[in-house]
């Protein structure tokens, strides 16, 4: 099935919900290498959308393009109808797209609480001057921020370690802290880059429940990269499969699982 046919088919299957993120013919070249080749897909409001594919298929590059870390070679990304591919990463983050990283990127020398509070920075409207002068609005916001940060830490089970430096936390805690930090941005779209990497089967199962819970509680749309196929199949509403930078399948989990091109990419190529 070609990429275009897959996209069309998905468009017919998908329920009539509003589109949050629309990627159109996304392309990224690194020298002669086409890391991502004309990939198009829509992510609908409130869905959990999975992105799978073998190593080097271009999944993380795709994330980097959506969040503004890498420029597109061509194509466009629309978020709630407006073009975002020319914006800076901080502008995109302010519009409500948050992400985590495959290899955790916390501020290691700051405490867990500070990590979360830095992301709240965006939502404290009062400017630098207000902060310096201790204006009432900014004082109220600053008082509110730690409370909210603690709620988020509690949610990921890290309240007891709020004052511990992030780099001294165990691996699993760091992963969850990164998610808490992303949530502090109050995003509408959450991008998770291999959240289950390095977890054992039990933890993976818990994570799946956890992501589902976040999705319900914060009315999030989730875009998720994952290697662990059972987790993706169980969790996601729709799945896109990338291989060598190309979209080879897109659709509901059971449909993708039976797709010959997907079976070929995962079994034939290795």
């Amino acid at each position: 099935m070609t990429a275009q046919a897959a996209a069309e088919q998905a468009a017919q299957v998908g329920p009539a919900r509003s589109v949050v993120l629309q990627a159109e013919r996304l392309t990224r070249r690194f020298g002669g290498l086409l890391a991502v080749n004309s990939v198009s897909f829509d992510v609908e409001e409130g869905e959990i959308f999975g992105l799978i594919g073998p190593n080097g298929a271009g999944k993380t590059t795709l994330f980097n393009m959506i969040t503004g870390l890498q420029r597109l070679s061509s194509g466009s990304v629309r978020y709630r109808g407006s073009e975002i591919s020319k914006l800076r990463p901080d502008q995109i983050a302010r519009r409500g797209i948050a992400r985590t990283f495959q290899n955790i990127r916390l501020f290691g020398n700051l405490s867990a609480l500070e990590n979360v509070m830095i992301a709240q920075h965006v939502h404290l409207r009062s400017g630098v001057l207000g902060g310096v002068l201790g204006l009432p609005l900014s004082r109220r916001e600053e008082q509110h921020a730690p409370e909210r940060a603690c709620e988020l830490l509690d949610l990921v089970g890290l309240l007891g370690r709020a004052y511990q430096e992030a780099r001294t936390l165990p691996y699993g805690d760091q992963r969850r802290l990164e998610i808490a930090r992303a949530l502090a941005l109050e995003p509408t779209l959450l991008l998770l880059d291999e959240p289950a990497a390095g977890m054992n089967p039990n933890e993976k199962h818990d994570l799946s429940t956890f992501i589902r819970g976040l999705h319900d509680r914060f009315k999030l749309t989730v875009l998720l990269i994952e290697h662990h196929v059972p987790l993706v199949l169980g969790l996601c509403d729709r799945i896109a499969v990338l291989n060598f930078g190309q979209l080879i399948a897109l659709g509901a989990p059971e449909q993708v699982r039976q797709d010959p091109a997907v079976i070929d990419a995962y079994l034939g190529a290795e």
């Binding site: 501020f107 920075h121 630098v128």
Partner: protein, 295 residues
């Protein structure tokens, strides 16, 4: 004090800004011009003076702000393009060295290479020296030096408070650790880096003016000689540690003061011997904590 501005940029960006020495010099010259003093016999602006005569302290503050603006221009022209390309920090260092040379030469071209002194009594009616000794044991300390020390401490306290307690400061520390991630959390990194350069330039410019008022402005290369010692000071204080930079400055100053008069030419040698010992014994700086060993 010179070292504080240096440290500020180093702690955020992990780059050594050699242009800081030139900004320091500029601060001194700006202040000189703003006090309405005339320039000398050489250079393009010979014998000209600004029509305004600001009192020294006001001139120093305005001069510091101008120096801060120059620092912003330097950031845009010499650092940002390299940073956006993801260039090696070593390249920024070379680039900043280039900027320093350009600024020094422009100064020389415009106002010549002679020494300038501020108008007499820059601090008004304060006595030129205060006696800290008891009875017959006189220990005079020049007022200028007390002012410089006092201003340094105040700036250090303000900056430390700002970095550790305010939102903007926290955002800056986040940039210091990982600028990419900071930007993904909605922090406008370019804008805050500009702010850092402005503050660093201001601190540098102000220290140029104050130190200039202590020893006179010794030509366009004025800042460069301080630049190398400033580098020693920030290593002494622990790279990127602002209170450490102040302590390092005091320690270095004392070490130099103990050099006997007949060996005064070896002052710089003492400074760098201290630096060398420091690197051997306490590479994390005077106030630094030992890095935790990764297991």
């Amino acid at each position: 004090m010179f070292a504080v501005g240096y440290t500020l940029i180093f702690s955020i960006l992990r780059i050594i800004n050699f242009a800081h020495a030139a900004i320091f010099t500029l601060g001194a010259y700006f202040t000189y011009a703003l006090t309405g003093s005339a320039f000398g016999y050489n250079g393009l602006l010979k014998n000209s003076a600004l029509p305004i005569h600001l009192p020294f302290l006001l001139a120093a503050v305005v001069g510091a702000m101008l120096a801060g603006l120059v620092a912003i221009v330097i950031e845009r022209l010499a650092f940002r393009p390299l940073r956006n390309r993801g260039a090696d920090p070593l390249l920024s260092l070379v680039s900043s060295l280039g900027v320093a040379v350009v600024i020094v030469n422009v100064i020389q071209y415009l106002v010549g290479a002679e020494n300038y002194s501020y108008p007499a009594q820059p601090y008004g009616n304060l006595p030129t020296a205060i006696n800290f000794g008891l009875g017959s044991q006189r220990i005079p300390v020049r007022t200028v030096q007390i002012v410089i020390f006092g201003v340094s401490v105040v700036i250090m306290l303000l900056l430390t408070y700002w970095l550790n307690r305010t939102k903007t400061g926290k955002a800056l520390r986040a940039i210091a650790e990982d600028a990419t991630t900071a930007s993904l959390l909605g922090i406008n990194t370019d804008q805050l880096i500009l702010l850092t350069f402005f503050l660093s330039g201001m601190v540098g410019g102000l220290s140029g003016a104050l130190i200039g008022s202590s020893v006179s402005i010794a030509g366009p290369y004025f800042g460069i000689s301080f630049g190398l010692r400033g580098l020693a000071v920030i290593v002494l204080g622990g790279l990127g540690d602002i209170p450490g930079a102040i302590v390092g400055g005091v320690v270095l100053g004392l070490a130099e003061a103990f050099v006997p008069v007949q060996y005064i030419a070896y002052k710089d040698a003492v400074a760098f011997a201290v630096l060398f010992l420091m690197l051997l014994l306490r590479p994390q700086g005077l106030l630094g904590r030992a890095e935790l060993q990764k297991v």
